[in-house]
């Protein structure tokens, strides 16, 4: 068990989940306390000790499925369950030629209705036998097998049949009850899908061994996904991660403001107060901390080449706007407009994106990025947004379609602002290739950062304002 625990933690680390030595020891100690025959208990114990954020849970589950337990067939005896399911004929012909899966679907619906997990698992095995068409030894991730099986079972048909099965009392109130029944049926289809997934995984591990399968299944963690090429699913997950990050950025920028209400001892006022007690320094007075209100100005390139990244930066802007009030955001393509009003508190993000696209004047001519024109218009119309307290964040790939750079405008902005940071979603290897003019802008910025992944954004947030990180107040009178 201990050696497989070591392998398992190595696999987690290879996926990018940080598992420290201490945590492996904790996991070993936890395994001492649980019944090793209980797969669920082992999973819970390992998850609690080795995975410290919900984000990494999926990677953990995948690795766990491959490493522990699944290689052993579930404890249902196939003969009895096969007998208990009369409508399923023996699999005819070779793999993938099972014809219509109606009989299986009916049997699964019956199994779900009676709540018999064992029977469902037996049916899942039959379904995989018939439709997965798996070839031994191939280094595939199993997604395709899952797709084939589900395709044959047809999720829509399953859902409809599952809905019909709890038809008992509904019908009276059409739309509303129908919605609820849909949701319940969809959940059950997911349950079946998960069971099929587990079964396929189990066979793959039995066929090729855990480590090989784990290697094929390794996918980047959400913080390492390239933002420019993220799938919709990944983007949604990234979106969920942004709010905490925005909060951290906000607290970084305004760290001083939150350091408690009390500052240092105010000698003058303390002595003044002591006169009331005959000179005893009974009632210490404290200096109030000066409250700095940081201002943030965000300027985003939202042109076509930036589409995915722009959504991401607008999400960040949106999240920051919920954290502190002094945020002004601007979006540009070849024209620029203020978009602060679309992203205020209480507004739904998707709605804000739609309204920004329709109501804001972002395009003046041809809809290709023009940093010179956009920055020029910014200086002309919104110059008052930048003050000595402002931190300006520009996001863009600096691909200017061979137009005027407008770097002198940015220099003027930088001279007035506290800081200017540039976030570029392109790999720094491609900066200054083609029409990218990153190096023109970089001398006038306080920092130019490659931000292709969430992790890099986290790093940016961690370094910004690091020099201003306050110390804890020393205990008075010591």
């Amino acid at each position: 068990m201990l050696s497989s625990l070591a392998d398992f933690s190595a696999e987690l680390r290879a996926t990018g989940v940080p598992v420290s030595m201490v945590e492996v020891l904790d996991a070993a100690a936890a395994l001492d306390e649980v019944d090793l025959g209980d797969r669920h208990a082992v999973r819970t114990a390992l998850a609690a000790t080795m995975v410290k954020t919900a984000r990494h849970r999926r990677a953990f589950d995948t690795a766990f499925d491959v490493f522990f337990g699944l290689a052993v067939a579930p404890p249902a005896s196939p003969e009895t369950t096969a007998l208990a399911v009369p409508p399923v004929p023996a699999p005819a012909g070779g793999a993938g030629s099972g014809g219509d899966a109606a009989d299986l679907v009916e049997a699964m619906v019956a199994a779900m209705r009676s709540g018999s997990r064992d029977m469902l698992l037996a049916l899942v095995r039959i379904a995989v036998d018939r439709y997965a068409g798996s070839l031994p030894g191939r280094p595939v991730g199993g997604r395709y097998y899952l797709y084939r099986v589900m395709n044959r079972l047809d999720p829509n048909r399953l859902r409809q049949r599952l809905r019909a099965s709890d038809d008992g009392e509904q019908v009276e109130d059409g739309a509303f009850a129908a919605r609820l029944a849909d949701a319940a049926a969809a959940e059950r289809v997911e349950e079946i899908r998960a069971a099929i997934h587990d079964e396929i995984m189990r066979r793959m591990v039995a066929d090729r061994g855990g480590e090989a399968v784990a290697r094929t299944l390794r996918t980047p963690l959400v913080e390492d996904v390239d933002l420019m090429h993220a799938t919709a699913e990944e983007l949604a997950e990234i979106g969920a991660r942004i709010a905490p990050l925005a909060r951290r950025l906000a607290s970084r920028l305004s760290a001083r403001r939150n350091q408690g209400r009390r500052g240092r001892l105010d000698t003058r006022r303390t002595i003044r107060r002591s006169l009331a007690h005959g000179g005893a320094l009974l009632d210490p007075r404290w200096k109030r901390r000066r409250i700095t209100k940081p201002e943030l100005v965000i300027v985003c390139d939202v042109s076509g080449s930036m589409a995915t990244f722009a959504r991401f930066t607008m999400q960040l802007t949106y999240a920051i706007a919920h954290q502190f009030s002094n945020v002004r955001s601007f979006a540009f393509v070849d024209g620029i407009d203020e978009v602060t009003r679309f992203f205020g508190p209480g507004i739904d993000f998707d709605e804000a994106m739609v309204r920004m696209a329709t109501d804001a004047q972002l395009i003046r001519h041809d809809g290709h990025s023009d940093y010179g024109a956009a920055l020029g218009a910014f200086a002309e119309r919104f110059a008052e947004a930048v003050t000595p307290r402002s931190t300006v964040i520009v996001t863009g790939d600096a691909r200017n379609n061979y137009r005027q750079s407008g770097v002198e405008v940015l220099a003027a902005i930088a001279a007035r602002a506290r800081e200017v940071h540039w976030l570029n979603p392109e790999s720094s290897r491609y900066w200054d290739t083609g029409d990218s003019i990153m190096s023109k802008f970089s001398p006038v910025c306080n920092g130019v950062h490659e931000v292709r992944t969430l992790r890099q954004l986290e790093r940016f947030v961690a370094t910004i304002a690091l020099d201003r990180t306050p110390r804890l107040r020393p205990t008075p009178l010591t």
């Binding site: 936890a30 649980v34 998850a47 609690a48 000790t49 949701a183 709010a243 986290e458 990180t469 010591t478």
Partner: protein, 309 residues
Amino acid sequence: MATCHKLSGLGGVGAGSGQNVAMPFADVADSAAGLRRTGYLTDDRIAQVVFLAERLGKPILAEGPAGVGKTSLAMAVAAATGQRLVRLQCYEGLDEAKALYEWNYHKQLLRIQTDEGKRWDELEGDIFTEDFLLTRPLLEAISSTEPVVLLIDEVDRVEIESEALLLEVLDSFQVTIPELGTVTATSRPFVVLTSNNTRELSEALKRRCLFLHIDYPDVQREREILLSRVDGLPERLATRIAEVVRSIRAVPLRKAPSVSESIDWARTLLALAVTEIDGAVTDDTLHVLLKYQSDIAKVRRHLDLGSAN
């Protein structure tokens, strides 16, 4: 200064030292049953982690959306084991004076005044004693002679720099007071930290804890919670409420309805003498479940409520 002090003034002279109370939970089933007796309905994952935390002597870091019962988990553990609950509510700007201990300056100053004429070194020994110490929750939990449950609530609200305050307490269950020495716990407190995940906690903190993600309960468990919390709720209605709430939580909302909100909703429906939930009733009472107008509009669209009227 290197010696370990027992803070005798803080609750009896080392009475419990070395005599830890017997394991409150014999096994996972026992911890589940114990929590259940206090009215906290666990699933087996939660029960398992509570059991492990007890056995390994590690704090639990409970994370999840607001209103799923993270704080009440600590309360339930306290109630189930019959231990006192010590609570540290975290907020922005929490410092050691509010979390660990503080010297009582007023009293110290008075003492200096009354002792005029004494030499400084005599005086110093006098004013830095536990008589002049104001204990705050962390020190209170550590110095308590009987075992306690320490709840560190909403730990994600403190700045990342102030998390360091907790580290010494969490891994060696001790507090170091420079003027006095180190106070070590005579019996390990059962520690629960909660986080709403508004920011990432530091690795150092997470490493010291068992991680427990508490999500919204499934329909079955939510139904049970509703039945146990709302008197006179018919089972059919409870099932329906749980189903509707589950369906609403699937919509991406700014603030999804929490368990306490579904309980509120159940009470509302009961007060309105509703026996059957349909579109019109839901539409009228949606504001109990949802706190933002934009969310209400979204859910209306999702459940087709507009067309019902």
